[in-house]
Symmetry: C2
Subunit: 251 residues, 2 copies
């Protein structure tokens, strides 16, 4: 039967060149999935199914629940597909759920929101066991100042200053409806929820908020950065390993 297979995928992005195929980076999450699916679907040599992800994660970024879908001809059940994929995918990619979706479901076009989480480590000791899933910083940034700065980012704005691609032709207007900044012992966790995010946007937001947290920038400066519509005004791009896609919303 022709199925629209919806997948919920968890991955440790450490050793991958991101979600999406890259001509110069052989190993991507999408590529790995397509490789295993091609075998599962017994496609002719060289043919791979197209796996549509809800979004692209950068090299080194992780996902707790990425949503993806693909159309395929198969007689397998959802449970059989789940078991097959988990068996043949490497240890750092896990499929948590397989569902047959309606033929029109599209993981990217139907996504209405996304949640990302960014974790930084401010402890004295080295985060030996957590090291691949957070970013180590020097000293503890002031979360009060960062929350003040984050308030300017909430709402619908042109986030061009927070987009890695300066030549972006499509609209850079996005809606961010929630930013929370929580301290849990040695970890500070930033959570972002919004309709969608531009290339590197969460990482540039975190890099900018950290500038404020370390006192190198005033909270009010964030409003001016938004208005400047110029990437050079914002802070640095925070490293990828602290970032995790937590989930994707659908209506």
């Amino acid at each position: 039967m022709n199925r629209n297979i919806r997948l919920t995928i968890r991955y440790d992005g450490s050793r991958y060149g991101g979600w999406e195929h890259q001509p110069d980076r052989p190993m991507t999450i999408q590529g790995k999935l397509e490789q295993v699916l091609a075998r599962m679907l017994m496609l002719p040599e060289g043919e791979v199914p197209l796996v549509i992800g809800a979004g692209r994660t950068d090299a080194g970024v992780h996902a707790l629940a990425m949503t993806a879908n693909l159309h395929a001809e198969t007689e397998m059940t959802e449970e059989e597909i789940l078991a097959y994929l988990n068996h043949y995918l490497p240890d750092d990619i896990g499929v948590d759920d397989v569902q047959f979706a309606s033929p029109r479901f599209h993981a990217r076009y139907n996504a209405t929101g996304k949640t990302y989480c960014y974790r930084i480590w401010c402890g004295d000791r080295k985060p030996v066991f957590e090291r691949k899933y957070l970013t180590v910083t020097e000293g503890r940034p002031d979360t009060g100042r960062m929350r003040q700065a984050a308030a300017y980012l909430i709402g619908t704005h042109d986030f061009r200053s927070f987009c890695a691609n300066p030549k972006m032709k499509k609209s850079t207007v996005r809606t961010v409806d929630e930013i929370t900044i929580e301290e849990e012992e040695e970890i500070i966790r930033f959570t972002f929820h919004g309709g969608g995010f531009l290339q590197n946007m969460v990482r540039i937001l975190v890099g900018t908020l950290l500038e404020v947290g370390y006192g190198r920038m005033e909270p009010e400066r964030v409003r001016e950065i938004l208005e400047a519509l110029d990437r050079r005004e914002a802070g640095p791009t925070a490293p990828p390993q602290g970032l995790m896609l937590i989930g994707v919303d659908y209506d």
Copy 2:
């Protein structure tokens, strides 16, 4: 000044050939520490200080708090040594504490007890982010049966049946005073406390308890295994990645 430097070390053992120097395994935790310490102490080329560990952990086994010591001539403070080691050691080895101990302190001879923890994963999904620090099993073993079996192990016994080295000439009598088996959602955690443990002993104990948990062995069988004084009577050696040295006791 001549110092007896006491270190508390945390490590992810995944890519190491265990704690102790092995002629055929180039990378060990002890070796890495000695390499960095030799540079810190500016010893002549080819000379390394002897780092004494509380015990040996096998290849792939982790430590939350290994204790070690070394005698060295240095003018550095405890804080300077801590900072130096954490800077030059790789990401998967962290030093949490440095203290100048009395000249007679010996990390191995003075150790009066050790705590080990072994974690198994019984969840349906793949433990993508935790995969290096636990062992995946098929299905959930019966913890009630395992606790019954564990009760036979408590006390001072000849644990020869649970020792990897059949030619062990020294005494194989050891005291285990506590074994706890806890369930935390998808994880079952075994904690062992005792005066000392033989080679692979915790892993063979876990391998045997799992046989009981899966119903392939009766709880009472554990008493007979102890009495047999024969490694072949016990269960298999559980894989290393689920094991972690939690701490070492000193009077």
